[in-house]
Symmetry: C2
Subunit: 339 residues, 2 copies
C-alpha cells in the first residue's frame, strides 16, 4: 500500500497539515517538527506525491501520446518506450487514440483535454504542415513519425529515405530484379509513404533497374489484410514480382501469408522485407527481414524534448531529431550467399 | 475545424457569454435571443462541449481502462472496443498501463488520478479479492478479466472453465492423446491460469486420459517467447506431446515457431490451439485455431456498467457478466475428417 500523509502524521505525532507543510513547502515548519516528520517519512518509505509538486507549478504532470492505431504493435512498442521515459521524468503518460481519423487528429492537436495535459506527443497520419500551422492551442507539442515535416515543433523521425534505400539495396544484392512496393498511398500529403516510395524508386534507378508502375501497390490501410490483398493483386500480374518491399511489417506479414496461400515459398520464390521490427516478425514463419528503427530512442527523445519545453528549459528553436535504424536480416530475405 | 462558442456568437450577433448561457443553461436567456443562438448552432453544425456538460455534474467525462500489457494485441483489441463504447456514451477513455506490476495495479485501483477520472475499468494480473476489498478509493470501478472473482464490483469475464473444456474437447476429438498445457502459473492467486488449467485437467479426466504433470508447463509471462521456451521444454521430454493447448494465442504462436525450428509440422505432428483470437492468428502460417471471446461485448459491457454506476442509474448489486465465446477452427488444429 502507498504511504499517505495521514500515516506519516500518525507516526510523527503531528497533524496532517503539518506533514503537508513539510512535504509541499506551503508554510514554514519548526526545525524539530520538520526533523520528526522527515524521520517518519524515511521510516515509512514515503515517496512524495508528484501530482502535488506539479500542481504547485501550475502543471498536471500528465502528458499525452496520440497514436493512430492501437492494433499496430509498432505503436504499442513506441508507447511502451515513451511511458517508461515519462515515468523517469516524473510524468504520467496517457494514450490518445485517433483511429487514423483526420478530425480526431485535428481535435487532439488543437487542444482537446488541454486543461488536463501539460503537453502532447502527436503521431499523425493525415495532418500536414498547414493543419499544424493553424493550430490555436498553446500546449507544448512534439511530433513523431513521418506525416508532418518542417512544422515549428520538435520532430523525432528516422531518415525514411535512407531506410528505404537500405532495404532496397539488400533485396537488389540478393539478385532480385522485379521488386514490388506494397503500401503506397494516393493522398498527396502522405509523407511517410512518399519518402519510402521515393527511396524505392531511387534505389531502382541507382541499380539500373526499370521502374514498373504495376509493381507499386496502393493500400488504404497499414495492416496485415492490406498486405495480403496487395500481394494477391501482384500475383495476378502477367509477370509477378520476385521480391516485396513493404511499407511496414504488418503489410509484409500479410503479403507472406498471401504468397503461402498461392503455393509460393518465401524466400525461395519471393524475398520479403518490412519496416518496424515488431516482435511478431521474430516468431513468424518465416521470420521477417526488416528495417529496425530505434523505437526506444524515438519514445525517449519525444518525451525529453516535450518535458524540456513544458518545464521551460533552454531548448533552442524547434529541431528535427533522427534516431538511428538498422537492417535486421532474417529468414524472409536472408543474406546473399558467397558468389 | 470544430465550431466554437465564438463562431456562434459572431453568427448570432450576441456575446459569447449569451451563447454560453444558452448552451450550458447557466442563466436564463430571452426567447428571441435563444432562437437566434439556436439557429446559429444549427447552421454551423455545432456539437455541445461534453466536457462542460460533465463539469456541471461534478464529473470530468473521463474514464480509465487499466491494462497489464500493451504488447499483447488482445488488450489492444479490447481497448479498441471500450474506446468506441465510451465515445458512444459521451466519455473519453484513457488507457492506463500497469505493466503487469502488482504495485502499479494497487496504485491504479486505489485511486491514482482520482481527481481526473470518473471511473475505472481494471484488468488486473496480480491483485486478488483481498487487495480489492481493502481499496479506499470511492471512484466507481468495473473489473474485466480473470484475476479477481467475487469482489463487490461488476465483473465482465468469459466462462474460462467452459472455454478450456471446449478447446480440449476439440483436440481430443482429433484423436490427440498427449496434450500439453503451456502457460500455467505457480502463483496461487493467478485465477485465470488456474481456471484454464482446471478445464484442461477436467477435460482429460472426462475423456479417460491420464494427467501427466510433465505436460503442464509453467511460464513467467504470456508472450511469444514464453510459448517458444515452453515448447522447447516439452520437446526435450522422452515422450513429447502430440497437441498443445496454450493459455493464449501469443503463447500458441511462440510454440508453433519452436515446433517449426524442431522440424515438426503443425498440425501434422502436433495440433495447437490458443485462446483470444487475435488478428495475427488469422494470418500466421499455419493460421491458429483458437477460442474467440466476444471482445466487442466485453469492452462494451464494461463501459456500460461503469457509466451506469457513475451516472447513478439503478444498477442493482454488483454482478458478474459472461460474454460468449466460440471455437474458431483454423489450420493449426483443423476439424477432424470423416471417420
Amino acid at each position: 500500500m502507498a504511504v499517505s500523509l495521514k500515516d506519516i502524521a500518525r507516526r510523527a505525532g503531528v497533524s496532517q497539515a503539518t506533514v503537508s507543510n513539510v512535504v509541499n513547502g506551503y508554510r514554514p515548519v519548526g526545525e524539530a517538527t520538520r526533523a520528526r516528520v522527515q524521520q517518519a517519512i524515511d521510516e515509512l518509505g514515503y515517496t512524495p506525491n508528484l501530482s502535488a509538486r506539479h500542481l504547485r507549478r501550475g502543471r498536471t504532470g500528465i502528458i499525452a501520446l496520440a497514436i493512430p492505431e492501437l492494433n499496430n504493435p509498432y505503436f504499442a512498442e513506441l508507447a511502451d518506450a515513451a511511458i517508461r521515459a515519462a515515468t523517469r521524468r516524473g510524468y504520467t503518460l496517457l494514450l490518445d487514440y485517433t483511429d487514423g481519423d483526420r478530425d480526431k487528429e485535428l481535435l487532439v492537436a488543437d487542444g482537446f483535454r488541454a486543461q488536463i495535459i501539460d503537453g502532447l506527443i502527436l503521431s499523425a497520419v493525415h495532418l500536414n504542415r498547414d493543419d499544424i500551422a493553424s493550430r490555436t492551442s498553446e500546449t507544448p507539442m512534439v511530433l513523431v513519425g513521418e506525416a508532418i515535416y518542417h512544422a515549428p515543433y520538435d520532430h523525432v523521425v528516422i531518415d525514411n529515405l535512407a531506410a528505404s534505400r537500405e532495404a532496397m539495396r539488400h533485396l537488389i544484392a540478393l539478385g532480385r530484379r522485379r521488386i514490388a512496393f506494397i503500401g503506397a498511398h494516393i493522398e498527396a500529403n502522405r509523407a511517410p509513404s512518399l519518402l519510402r516510395l521515393r527511396g524505392y524508386t531511387e534505389a531502382l534507378e541507382a541499380a539500373g533497374l526499370p521502374f514498373d508502375p504495376d509493381l507499386t501497390v496502393t493500400t488504404s490501410g497499414f495492416g496485415r489484410g492490406d498486405g495480403a490483398a496487395g500481394m494477391r493483386a501482384l500475383l495476378a500480374l502477367p509477370q509477378p514480382p520476385d521480391a516485396v518491399f513493404a511499407f511496414n511489417d504488418l503489410i509484409a506479414l500479410g503479403a507472406i501469408r498471401a504468397l503461402h496461400d498461392h503455393g509460393l515459398r518465401v524466400p525461395g520464390d519471393v524475398s520479403v522485407i518490412g519496416i518496424d521490427d515488431v516482435e511478431e516478425g521474430r516468431f513468424s514463419i518465416p521470420t521477417l527481414t526488416t528495417i529496425s528503427p530505434d523505437k526506444e530512442m524515438i519514445g525517449r527523445l519525444a518525451v525529453e524534448k516535450l518535458v524540456d519545453r513544458i518545464e521551460g528549459r533552454p531548448a533552442g528553436p524547434p529541431a528535427e531529431f533522427q534516431p538511428p535504424f538498422r537492417l535486421v536480416v532474417r529468414e524472409s530475405a536472408p543474406a546473399a550467399g558467397p558468389a
